[in-house]
């Protein structure tokens, strides 16, 4: 079973968001890393870049496939996780903690309404489980 921590928000494209005031920390879910297999490369935007909700923000590449990472929120990149770029396997071993990808200053808090709760996301991957990791 995939781990889906309560208290986080999720996108249908398998990204998670942790909110702290107007700062969002985001990464890809346990389910996503499971479907991808061993992650070997992560490409992330630099500090100061702008990301838009549901638009591609970077790339995650595994031994199986290269996939876009879609930003669950819009805003300005405050920090990217340099450790995850150096050690992409952190995405597999610790997707919600050490494997975080970006910290973003939210441009529009209302956008969070478009995201899924942990329960909704669990139902979502229940539906899509087995349909491939891409």
């Amino acid at each position: 079973m995939s781990s889906v921590p309560a208290g986080l928000k999720y996108s249908k494209e398998h990204e998670w968001v942790r909110l702290d005031g107007d700062v969002a920390t985001l990464g890809i879910t346990h389910f996503a890393q499971e479907q991808l297999g061993d992650v070997v490369f992560v490409e992330l935007p630099e500090k100061g870049a702008t990301v838009r909700q549901f638009a591609s923000l970077g790339v995650v590449e595994s031994v199986k496939a290269a996939s876009d990472i879609y930003s669950p929120v819009s805003g300005e990149v405050l920090e990217r996780n340099v450790k995850v770029i150096e050690k992409p396997e952190l995405v597999n071993s610790s997707p919600y903690e050490e494997g975080w990808m970006l910290k973003v200053r939210l441009a529009d808090r209302g956008e969070v309404q478009q995201l899924l709760s942990a329960d909704d996301y669990r139902a979502h991957i229940g539906e899509t489980a087995g349909s491939g990791g891409d």
């Binding site: 061993d38 031994v63 891409d134």
Partner: protein, 503 residues
């Protein structure tokens, strides 16, 4: 420099590891060398265009250069040196006679008149007819330069077909199975189509209900490989094709796995509207790797008007010409054709090799080829199924997909097993494809391998399974008998070093 040493199975011993070959630049010494272009031969070049400083080329004597390339060839692994069970790629042996016949056409010019190339046109025309017969289709274009370009060509043909029926704007979607080759959705996207994926059912077939649910008046077509990428025959292929046709869509056959169907079944009879041929897989032409390739597209009559031009026409008197370029009469207009994909006959030298292969084997030989490929795969699976999980437990055709999930839990992944096979003297199988199988290992022995080689390969893979169970770390540390260990594949793709710089 010692010749390449075959890595021996028990790599714990002192295995001689072949050395990497230095670059020509590293071997060079100033003042060494062979021929020089004499100044008198360049006298006709105007002063303004003459080089001021000498070219910075490595200076070497001819024997050094020959040895360099021979050493590189010795480091290489190919079908000529051993079994190459790279699933989905059909790495069969390429008979040397193919190159001999292709060399006979080496001096042709692509724009040469039909008047002086009657034999060329005859060969191309006959090849078209042979491919049409094998696939159960009506017409063929030889132009596409690769399987993926043939997919692209076919989807342009689909677009033209729907546009001709006034449905071009409406039909914007292509459906692919979740087991599809990655090129299928990529080609569809390149043609501007939206892509919908349908899942496979528990038997590894296209889920017919999911397909029916995905079909609609906006669907241009469905792309299907049969046998599919699991090596399994699509059991309900007729119903699949009927469902797509009932919705007004067309069915594209990805011919990557045609080797299994040779003389067994014809895509045209199964309901496909078109199918492409990877001649480098089925008909023993060199695999591309950036070199010239060919991917003929075979279609039913209703798609012919849209095929790339020119077409080869055979007259009643046995002469041939291009329909769009006769010097003695008005060229025929392009009509509904999508235009030209690659000039005239495509990469003709590759097609000569395919023609040679087919003529060498004849009808009976081709039928035997498909059946032997299926027999080899099933024999190999029988030897491996105890120690490895089988993704979908059915009788496969020319290839099968194992899952190394059991081994992954024990501490070594499909990738580790693939690397370990290098030390066993075999090329690894395809790993992590198709995407729907965890820790996938896709194995395709082809009809080329004798029973002894299949036995040796199975023994090696089974030995590795035992080693994973007792000492997975040793398997994770392979290959040990290759000049390089684990390569930085991501770095090679993302930050390639393409130019030599003297340090």
């Amino acid at each position: 420099m010692t010749p390449r040493t075959r890595a021996i199975p028990d790599v714990g011993a002192a295995t001689p590891v072949p050395a990497l070959e230095p670059l020509l630049f590293e071997l060079a010494r100033p003042g060494r060398g062979g021929g020089h272009v004499r100044t008198s031969e360049t006298a006709e070049i105007p002063e303004a265009f003459r080089r001021r400083a000498p070219l910075r080329l490595p200076e070497l004597a001819e024997p050094q250069v020959v040895r360099h390339y021979t050493h590189l060839a010795q480091l290489n692994y190919s079908v000529d040196t051993g079994m190459y069970p790279l699933g989905s790629c059909t790495m069969k042996y390429n008979p040397k006679v193919n190159d001999r016949t292709a060399s006979l056409f080496a001096d042709l010019h692509p724009r040469q008149s039909y008047r002086t190339t009657q034999g060329v046109l005859a060969l191309a025309y006959e090849l078209e007819r042979m491919l049409a017969k094998i696939t159960g289709m009506d017409f063929v274009t030889l132009q596409p330069q690769a399987g993926a370009q043939s997919e692209f060509t076919a989807l342009l043909v689909f677009k033209a077909y729907h546009a001709g029926r006034g449905e071009g704007a409406r039909r914007r979607r292509i459906i692919v199975p979740d087991s599809a080759h990655g090129t299928n959705p990529a080609s569809a996207a390149m043609c501007g189509y939206d892509v919908t994926t349908v899942k496979s059912d528990a038997r590894g077939n296209v889920d017919l209900e999911a397909l029916r649910a995905a079909l609609g008046p906006d669907v241009a077509g469905f792309m299907l490989t049969n046998p599919n990428t699991l090596g399994l025959f699509e059991e309900r292929v007729r119903e699949v094709c009927d469902a797509v046709h009932a919705a007004g869509g067309l069915v594209y056959g990805d011919g990557a796995n045609m080797n299994a169907l040779l003389g067994v079944a014809r895509p045209g009879d199964l309901g496909f509207d078109c199918v492409h041929i990877n001649v480098h897989k089925t008909f023993s032409t060199p695999h591309g790797a950036g070199g010239p390739g060919a991917g003929p597209l075979c279609v039913k009559a209703h798609l012919r008007p849209f095929l790339p031009k020119p077409w080869i026409v055979k007259e009643g008197d046995g002469s041939y010409h291009y329909d769009t370029s006769r010097e003695d009469r008005e060229p025929e207009p392009l009509g509904d054709s999508i235009g030209t994909i690659k000039q005239r006959l495509g990469n003709f030298g590759v097609l000569v090799r395919a023609y040679t292969y087919m003529r060498t084997l004849g009808d009976e030989g081709l039928v035997e080829t498909g059946r032997d490929a299926i027999l080899a795969a099933n024999y190999l699976l029988a030897l491996l199924r105890e120690r490895y999980d089988v993704a979908y437990d059915r009788t496969p055709m020319h290839e099968f997909v194992l899952s190394a999930s059991r081994q992954k839990k024990q501490g070594a992944s499909a990738l580790d097993l693939a690397k370990a096979l290098i030390d066993e003297g075999f090329h690894p199988p395809t790993v992590y494809f198709p995407l729907i199988v965890p820790e996938a290992m896709m194995i395709e022995p082809t009809e080329t391998e004798p029973k002894e080689t299949l036995d040796a390969f199975a023994a090696a893979l089974n030995r590795l399974a035992e080693r994973v169970a007792t000492d997975p770390a040793a398997v994770r540390e392979t290959p040990r008998g290759a000049p390089l260990r684990r390569l930085d594949e991501v770095g090679a793709a993302r930050r390639p070093v393409l130019r030599y710089r003297a340090s």
